[in-house]
Symmetry: C2
Subunit: 468 residues, 2 copies
């Protein structure tokens, strides 16, 4: 728990410099595999991605590397036992699947043909999450080089799943099935980001997410809006009314029971958030947006980090081609997602949405609602020793900079690991808001990617002490 | 204005029987041309359709047949002067373009490869409107055969446009440019239907229609709903709120000023409508719908014939593919149309919609709204002599049946003809509600199609007297 000696810092940096080119070449190889878990036709690519990672982890030195099957996409498990007696065990979590991406969505280059421009690598998955998984490979090698060890200071386990971008539908099952193999004293999640390039931070929690698809069925087929319009219910109109009913005039979610159990921000937490150097115009540029809008009574950061939301991810119905078509459409569809915060139970949210929806659909419209597997929210106390350890490793990588604490508006299955393994969950990520997760032209800053390598190279020694 | 003699009825029927097969063969030929005016790649087909019709009208005997160009699709004009002195002039209106149609919309057979099954011809345009235009060709020949004339009893003009299914954007311009050639004492519109197979009716008016497309722009690209959701406006959410704001709790259109000038139904008109043998469950089956919903205080027939509406024809935004995608979408689109009744001015409606929309879109969302060319509503008094003439011709075709009066919920550019030519507009149509206009598996009942031939075969003599 002491400061990392300068010699170790230098050894790590030299090691990284020597292996940087090969490390980036390997990452490019991996990013070329379009492991899109949400699209069934990419299932073979997700498997190929798992196999590629397995080979890379073996090459890194992990004596145990296994592909773990699920009812969906495969995960990769690796283990490198420490030869120190009483060494604590740390489990690293990440994912090897990626969001859908297509050139026509606005990518400047093929999303699955990585391009390095001005120190940035552009590719789907560059930062979410392949880049941040991959820095652990060079990181553990640098750790060994700096400490002269042949095994890590902690017993190091990796669990890299293949369905995170599809809501991790089989993850909890997988973790429960392998709970003994996964047992750990702490979990490190490398699937989050920092405040900015200039403000290194450690994340303390993530929002959860529940999502659903709603299908609304009206006439058996599209019908003439002149002959029948105004006298039968229109499923596209009903879809609009459902969307409008999601929020009240204060932009609070209007679904009865939605806020039940929400962990409200303390005054101290609101102060810590308010102290961050938040530049709203700059944030809006990152959000590619022209204005803010959200729950009354909360700041933008509070809205995205600590408040639950209801969002329309997709809506469709009727004629969407060129020109007009005067019909009452046969059907309409909604894709909704709800970000959840600590204290909210996804099962209760699902029931609340179902009850609310039933009251909104008029006679003459048939509907179906299907929920995906939810991801639970997750929050780690600021004073946890392992969290302090992560902050120190980050500070060392960032030349002694003061590390601040953030939260993550996005979601990951971290809470399942916390639940099943009864271990604290910590976050170590180097992505920045401009990386464009889930968006066209996703990228990773190469300098920061290597800071990630450096942080993990120092972390295992520090955690070995902190967790004993 | 006397009863049609039995001998004329018999001559017409014999003539139709003799020419029925060739007439239907020709119609099949025409229906094979996919003259979809709303889809730019079908523009050559719309032109081919105009050329096909020109040739058919020449073959019928019209001495003058011309293709009239517009800034959009071409129209066909034909004229057959009567050699009787003081013969009145009648202009027949119809259209040769059709609604979009694709096998995957639910057609049992290729929409552009007509199939006759159980006395019904299935094809896009079979009843809307090629079939109903085409009965005028055999009709005028039967009229000549029955009367022994070499020219019709009225100077007969036809104007068959090519953009009706796209809202007739250049029709008024065309009619104004050719007002002298089109001059007529009455206009016969053959683009409507009857009450049912068993209840022959004459239509007295049509609703108008105004339509618009609204584009809503949020973030410059789809953004991560975890990182940004809940803090920036979502254009798909705004689209939903616009849809929800279209109507109030009584299903009345809630756009301020929308009902200004509406010609309210008189007690007598409501009684005539109430007398029709309306079978709501049967109507619902025709509407392929499971329930009625519309403006409070009005019956289903009143809602579709005499009340203005706001309808969502299409809505789209965000991710509509398989699975989920946790984004705030970059944009959303709405296609809305408004059915208008007598007394409503499309220009005032357009302004009312624009004003209403401006108040609904929040800061941070940019929008565009584009209106198509409107179609005006149209209504003819029940006691007009020419309307009585049409009713007699229909009664003769239907073996002396009592003819009732209806309205049409759909729209046509009839009102432009009424405005520019200062002539009464009458409706002669034999389509029935089950024909499925604008829907998959559109058809025409062949028996009724031939009743249309028969009615027009008797109409010109009657009108020649009625209009003098």
């Amino acid at each position: 728990m002491s400061e990392t000696p300068d010699s170790a810092v230098q050894t790590v940096r030299t090691y990284i410099e020597q292996h940087r080119a090969a490390f980036l070449d390997d990452l490019v190889d991996w990013l070329r595999i379009p492991s899109v878990s949400a699209q069934p036709d990419h299932a073979p690519d997700v498997r190929r991605s798992a196999e590629w990672l397995s080979a890379a982890l073996s090459k890194t030195g992990f004596p145990t590397v296994e592909i773990w099957e699920t009812d969906g996409a495969p995960a990769v498990f690796a283990e490198w036992p420490s030869d120190e007696s009483d060494a604590p065990t740390v489990l690293v979590y990440g994912h090897h699947d990626v969001q859908p991406a297509a050139l026509e969505d606005g990518w400047h280059t093929d999303p699955f043909e990585p391009q390095v421009v001005d120190g940035r690598m552009y590719a789907r998955g560059a930062s979410d999450d392949k880049g941040q998984v991959f820095f652990h490979t060079l990181g553990v090698r640098a750790h060994l080089a700096a400490t002269g060890r042949t095994t890590p200071a902690v017993t190091l386990k990796l669990l890299i799943e293949g369905e995170e971008e599809s809501g991790s539908p089989h993850f909890r099952e997988l973790v429960e099935a392998h709970a003994d193999r996964l047992a750990a004293d702490a979990v490190i999640v490398s699937d989050t980001g920092m405040w900015s390039e200039d403000t290194p931070t450690v994340c303390t929690g993530m929002r959860g997410v529940a999502d659903c698809e709603i299908e609304l069925y009206g006439p058996d087929q599209d019908i003439h809006s002149g002959s029948f319009g105004g006298a039968v219910p229109n499923p596209a109109t009903v879809a609009g009314r459902i969307v409008a009913a999601l929020h009240d005039a204060d932009e609070r979610v209007a679904i009865p029971g939605f806020y039940e159990g929400v962990a409200e921000l303390s005054a101290a937490e609101r102060e810590l958030i308010a102290e961050l150097p938040f530049d709203e115009p700059a944030w809006l540029r990152t959000a590619k947006s022209r204005g803010t809008l959200g729950e009354a009574g909360f700041s933008t950061l509070e809205r995205v980090w600590a408040r639950p939301t209801a969002e329309v991810n997709g809506i469709g119905g009727g004629y969407q081609g060129p020109g007009g078509k005067t019909i009452v459409p046969a059907s309409a569809q909604l894709k909704l997602s709800f970000r959840l915060v600590a204290g909210q139970d996804p099962a209760r949210i699902e029931q609340a949405v179902r009850d609310w929806l039933a009251g909104l659909v008029p006679a003459g419209i048939r509907y179906e609602i299907v929920f995906g597997a939810p991801t639970r929210p997750c929050l780690t106390p600021l004073d946890h020793p392992a969290l302090q350890s992560v902050a120190r490793a980050m500070s060392t990588a960032f030349d002694g900079a003061k590390i601040r604490f953030t939260r993550e508006g996005g979601s990951g299955p971290a809470a399942d690991l916390q639940d099943v393994l009864a271990a604290p969950v910590l976050f170590l990520g180097i992505s920045v808001p401009s990386d464009g997760w889930h968006a066209p032209n996703e990228k990773v800053e190469l300098d920061l990617l290597l800071k990630g390598v450096e942080a993990t190279a120092h972390l295992w020694d520090d955690l070995a002490t902190a967790l004993r």
